[in-house]
């Protein structure tokens, strides 16, 4: 697939590949998404706003330039803003492919990092020369101000022009806790929210601190996604219960929504409130909440792609990849989308007595 190289959230010609519950593929216009959902369904989006999480600066002991990419935080609490997990690169910027980026100078506990108006310290390295816990100094307000005014959105070499926050905040962006945009949500705009209402499709949100998608380092990439805190509002829990009671499906807008909802249900009944998603979703996952997924298109082999295996067999995903390729779909965060409906739920009684491939 070719990369989408301009930061337009809703290109007029954006495409949607619909993979229905019977495994049939349909090409559609993405702005027609509401017509591919059923009255009574619930669409759940991630309303995290995206932090300008790339901070350029200088490593104190060596005096060498670094780019720090904030990549994780232990909670969503707004005053818990001192410590972050971060990936550190050496000199350079997003125009160099992450795979080709220079390593940072050797980082040690206690090293100072001068990041524009922000001062930080390396608390510890995390088993990899590029991965650290850092701690900012100053008040929470000063740290937020420094990040807000000095940071840049994390971006990759397939997009040349520097991204601004308005390029990466979705139309429903609320609390600034994501490190990269929950880009499946780029599909949303006021018009679509209205079209969903008119079709009788309910809409709800959760807040999930979407982490970074790529580090350019195989060993680090293998550790993605990092643990991601989320908040599932009580109102969303009620909306899920209402949709279920009416026979509607739960449609996750994005892999982060899937990860949060499935984590919130991992102990049995779905629970509202704060959580930290630690699990991986893949072929072995038995989905408890999500019936369908709207997602960007992703190359085979990526962790995003692996998540799709929870919704469809490998053989079906191969047909999907071929259709995306043949249909000229574009990939990456500003690219086209897929809607994957997983095979219809099978009543528990039947699961016990029949071999149902998708119940596994």
């Amino acid at each position: 697939m070719k990369a989408a190289t301009t930061p337009v959230q809703r290109p007029r010609d954006a495409k949607l590949l619909v993979v229905d519950a019977a495994g049939r593929l349909h090409h559609a216009a993405r702005n027609a998404l509401p017509s591919h959902l059923q009255p009574g369904d619930l669409l759940v989006a991630n309303d995290a706003a995206t932090l300008p999480a790339s901070l350029s600066g200088v490593h104190g002991p060596s005096g060498l330039p670094v780019e720090v990419r904030l990549a994780g935080r232990r909670s969503l609490a707004v005053d818990d803003v001192r410590e972050f997990t971060a990936i550190v690169f050496g000199a350079g910027d997003h125009r160099t492919r992450t795979e080709d980026r220079a390593a940072p100078p050797p980082l040690h506990s206690g090293d100072g990092l001068a990041l524009g108006p922000l001062q930080a310290e390396v608390v510890r390295t995390l088993g990899h020369p590029r991965l650290i816990t850092l701690r900012f100094s100053g008040t929470a307000d000063a740290i937020w101000s420094g990040i807000a005014r000095y940071g840049k959105p994390i971006q990759y070499a397939h997009i040349d022009a520097p991204l601004a926050l308005w390029d990466v905040w979705t139309r429903v962006a609320a609390l600034p806790v994501a490190f990269e945009p929950p880009s499946a949500g780029f599909v949303l705009d006021g018009q679509m929210l209205q079209a969903l209402r008119e079709r009788g499709v309910a809409f709800a949100t959760l807040t999930h601190a979407a982490g970074i998608s790529s580090t350019g380092d195989d060993a680090l990439d293998a550790r993605l996604p990092f643990d991601e805190p989320y908040h599932l509002p009580e109102a969303t829990l009620r909306a899920i219960a209402r949709a279920r009671a009416g026979g509607g499906r739960i449609v996750a807008l994005g892999t982060t929504v899937t990860r949060a909802l499935e984590h919130a249900a991992s102990a049995g009944a779905l629970r509202s409130g704060m959580g930290v998603a630690t699990q991986r979703i893949g072929p072995e996952t038995r989905l408890r909440v999500v019936d369908a997924l709207v997602s960007g298109t992703h190359e085979p082999g990526t962790s995003h792609h692996g998540l799709l295996r929870a919704f469809a067999s490998e053989a079906l995903l191969q047909r999907v990849d071929q259709a995306l390729e043949a249909g000229g779909y574009r990939t990456h965060e500003f690219g086209d989308s897929v809607l994957i409906e997983r095979p219809a739920r099978v009543p528990a009684r039947l699961v016990q007595t029949h071999a149902i491939p998708h119940a596994a």
Binding site: A49, D141, A148, L165, W166, W169, A174, L175, T207
Partner: protein, 230 residues
């Protein structure tokens, strides 16, 4: 004491929060234990007001500057853990002293539009996601745009200000129509002629005794918020 019946844990952001009506609003909400973030251009003044109202969050920014809007939206929602009420109060008079339209420089009109129309539009757009989240949670979700009778009556000499406020008032009505189904309310409020620095710039020889106290206008706005809350 909560004589205004404001919802508990209300989260309010006010632009132009270090003088006049904005300052009166910040004080009133602070007094009532509301979570407050206020925005103004001058760092020193912001720090002074924040110190005088402990627990409030003073943010430095200029709503007329496009580049300032998203950093402000980010800091507002981070400071307050979301947002229920945005009060677009920061205003520019246009040319000072007031000028006939024939004598108004195009740049003065542009500056008035940037502060009084584009700024509120951009900031509302940037926090709309947070307001929508509040509405879905059953919380208040409200934008209050501060306008003026100059938006309705064509006072000679008030061209830049009056035209920009008229546009803001109409923008508020259209926003209100479009966002009703999402549970987000947008209202324009004319607080009346108040004894404020902006009024003194416009009418230097006005007798302050004939003007409304900003604190009184702030109470009226707080009452509106209480009424507009679910």
């Amino acid at each position: 004491m909560n004589t205004l019946n404001l919802p508990r844990d209300l989260r309010v952001a006010i632009t132009g929060g270090t003088s006049g009506l904005g300052l009166a609003l910040a004080r009133l909400f602070h007094e009532h234990g509301t979570r407050v973030a206020f925005v103004a251009r001058h760092a020193q003044r912001v720090a002074e007001v924040a110190r005088s109202l402990p627990g409030t969050h003073g943010l430095v920014g200029d709503v007329s500057r496009k580049q300032d809007i998203y950093p402000l939206a980010l800091q507002i929602t981070a400071a307050l853990d979301g947002l229920d009420v945005l009060i677009n109060n920061a205003s520019s008079l246009g040319p000072v002293p007031l000028a006939l339209l024939a004598d108004t420089e195009c740049e003065d009109l542009e500056a008035a539009l940037a502060t009084n129309l584009l700024g509120p539009f951009r900031l509302t757009k940037a926090v709309l996601g947070a307001l929508g989240a509040s509405a879905r949670d059953g919380r208040p979700a409200l934008v209050i745009n501060i306008t003026s009778d100059a938006a309705v009556t064509p006072y000679a000499g008030w061209g830049a200000y009056g035209a920009s406020k008229a546009a803001l008032q109409h923008l508020s009505r259209i926003w209100g129509e479009e966002l009703r189904d999402q549970g987000v309310k947008v209202i324009a409020v004319d607080p009346g002629d108040m004894d404020t620095p902006l009024h003194a710039l416009a009418v230097p020889d006005a007798d302050p005794a004939t003007l409304k106290r900003p604190a009184q206008a702030a109470r009226e706005i707080a009452t509106l918020i209480a009424q507009a809350s679910p």
